[in-house]
Amino acid sequence: MMRTLFLALSAVGLLALLIVPFVPALVYDIFVMKTLCFVLFACAFNLLLGHTGILSFGHAAFFGTGAYVTGHLVKVYGVPTDLGILAGGVVAALLGTIIGALAIRRSGIYLAMITLAMSQLVFFFFLQAPFTGAEDGLQRIPRGTFLGIIDLASDTALYYVVLCIIGAGLWVVWRTVNSPFGHVLRAIREHEPRAISLGYPVARYKIIVFTLSAGLSGIAGSLKAIIFQLAALSDVHWHTSGDVILMTLLGGMNTVFGPAVGAAIISTLSHYLDPFGAWVTVITGVVFMTCILVFRRGVLGQLQQRLKRRPSPTASTPIDTKPKPHH
């Protein structure tokens, strides 16, 4: 029952995403693209938080690095856009390996603080580096063509390219979580000493997942740089690291795609609250507070919980859940 419902919902969602460029009066495609970037960013981030139990408070470093690397390569060196995006992901992944290797030597709050500190150093680098234009940002990055054939100057063409890349990225996340590798990650999250005693090279696993998460976050940032044709300091600012945590928790950190829902909620809030003028910050705060107090498992997490609990007269109990007491 639950599975069918989710499949149906996913199908509707996918269809909706496919027709976005044709309904400009209903929803704006660039807004959807921006949201998609955050969707990938949040899901990649959740590989660490939800699936491995590692809180990184410096993920903006990877997101922003992707944006700046891609932007600089494409704008100044005329690197093709596809290679530029790839390079953004690779450099972010390398940075992820370095920061990850340092950070995982500690755990919990100390680990979070090391990632925060490293991301502040990265921020400082991008603030000082002459090519970033500091607060003016790296402006007018050309969109170029994708694979030499698709002209990205058209928003519609760009939209489908972005959709495909984000889709591929999410597929990587999903595969990772549902692979033997992902099971080990969960074992580490649940009981690290036991994973160690079972002979798993826990440190190496953590570094690998850190690298993967950073690389995907970097690609999300790269895409954003291409979409808006700019990379800005806000992409590497710690506020963005905070935002991604918020998205993940709002959506549900114990689900694969919960963070995607969270990302959608937060982008939508910031997009549609404009009429409230100066009150927008207060309203956002109140919404977050309510969510944290009421939907502690996150929106998707709570929904799953509901569906699991509700006894259904037509469908049999899902096989993959333990029987729950009726109430």
Binding site: P24, A25, G133, E135, F228, Q229, L230, S234, S270, G277
Partner: protein
């Protein structure tokens, strides 16, 4: 061609939007969707929300009302949005406005990252953008566009206004307290050039991170430099904290601080006791003459505050844009752009102001000195005029501009 697609998109979306509206029946080819729509894109909720924010929206609305609410029989509408000081949010909002909400002109654009990003969109979509509260000179150089107008002030006018007048007045050794941002460093470099050209010297500079609250260390550095003038190349809270610290450490009476971008609102937050004798360049002061007072008092009634130069610029530039539409008889961007650059601006804000081909609005700038508490006789009575800097001197000479539009002529 993408431009055509855009037009189609607009036509489609506006058709959807204007169902039920009367004007859709009598379609007029000269005006896109029979409406002139102006978007005020500003910082509604963040650190610059006092400098532009809701009051900027009010200023634009006042201009539209004073114009009569319609131009050549076509209604004018004002909408507003919040860029949150993020360049991507600003660019995204601007694209959406141009593409699917039929916005013809975007005004205000505080924050230079946002202004540059929106200018790029305006150029691409061939719609108007008027920058009133950002100082970046790239807007009229590398990134200039026939559709982008830089209206109130820029880094060049600030540097040349304050820098030149002070050196001529005898303040010839300078020390800078500069915010470590492109804005601050650019301003410092420009003023340094002015100072050196005028025969003065720059003895040193300290660059502080954005959002520094404790300036005591810099106050001591400034004191040790023994420079006559302490140039403060920052704005908002940073500038206020710097000026406070200079006063607190007794730097101020002996060495004179010169604020390179101080807003009228900042003087209010500093208090006259601390701010007195400060020198600043502003394009507008509410209490300058009868015309400015007339506008400012109406503005005060609506917002509970006096307008600063950006608010006055918002009003004046909107008025100019509407006048250009009226003269052109269409809201077609290219025609309006031509009219805007052709017509002179004469109102309470500018005298014989004109817009150069690179988008720079040239008008006089003023050097002011902050009054002491004893000199201030009524509320908001803060500034004394020191000197008027003619527009031609304040702004970058046209031949120095690297704007590509100038090559064609």
């Amino acid at each position: 061609m993408p431009a055509k697609n855009t037009l189609k998109t607009i036509a489609l979306s506006s058709a959807v939007l204007s169902i039920g509206s009367v004007s859709s029946a009598m379609a007029n080819d000269d005006y896109s969707d029979d409406l002139v729509r102006i978007g005020v894109l500003t910082d509604m909720s963040g650190i610059y929300s006092d400098l532009s924010g809701e009051a900027a929206v009010t200023a634009v609305e006042m201009a539209v009302e004073d114009f009569g609410g319609e131009v050549n029989g076509v209604p004018i509408e004002v909408i507003h949005g919040d860029h949150r000081n993020e360049a991507d949010t600003g660019a995204s909002r601007a694209r959406e406005w141009y593409d699917s909400e039929g916005v013809d002109m975007i005004n205000d654009l505080s924050n230079s990252g946002v202004a540059l990003a929106v200018a790029a969109v305006a150029d691409e979509r061939e719609r108007h953008a008027i920058v009133n509260s950002s100082s970046n000179v790239d807007l009229t150089n590398e990134y200039c566009s026939p559709y982008v107008t830089h209206y109130t002030y820029d880094a060049h006018s600030l540097a040349h206004g304050t820098g030149k007048s002070i050196v001529e007045d005898g303040g010839d050794s300078w020390f800078f307290l500069t915010v470590d941002f492109a804005f601050g460093i650019g301003l410092e470099e420009q003023v340094s050039e002015v100072v050196r050209d005028a025969g003065g010297q720059v003895v040193g500079a300290a660059r502080h991170p954005l959002d520094t609250s404790d300036f005591s260390s810099y106050a001591l550095q400034a004191q040790a430099s023994q420079a006559d003038i302490i140039g403060i190349a920052s704005t908002g809270a940073d500038a206020i904290n710097a000026i406070n610290a200079l006063a607190e450490f007794g730097v101020t009476p002996d060495q004179q601080p010169a604020a390179l971008l101080l807003w009228y609102d900042d003087i209010h937050s500093l208090g006259l006791e601390t701010a007195q004798e400060l020198l600043l360049t502003n394009a507008f002061y509410w209490d300058a003459d009868d015309d400015t007072r007339e506008f400012s008092e109406r503005f005060h009634e609506r917002t509970g505050r006096m307008p600063n130069m950006a608010h006055a610029g918002n009003y004046s530039s909107t008025m100019h844009y509407l006048n250009a539409i009226e003269a052109a008889g269409t809201d077609d961007s290219a025609a309006v752009s031509e009219k805007m650059r052709e017509m002179e601006i004469n109102d309470f804000f500018a005298e014989d102001g004109y817009i150069r081909p690179n988008g720079r609005m040239v008008h006089d700038q003023y050097l002011w000195e902050v009054k002491s508490p004893d000199e201030s006789e009524y509320d908001y009575d803060y500034l004394d005029l020191v000197t008027t800097i003619p527009g031609e001197e304040a702004f970058q000479p046209l031949e120095e501009s690297t704007c590509h539009l100038l090559d064609d002529e």
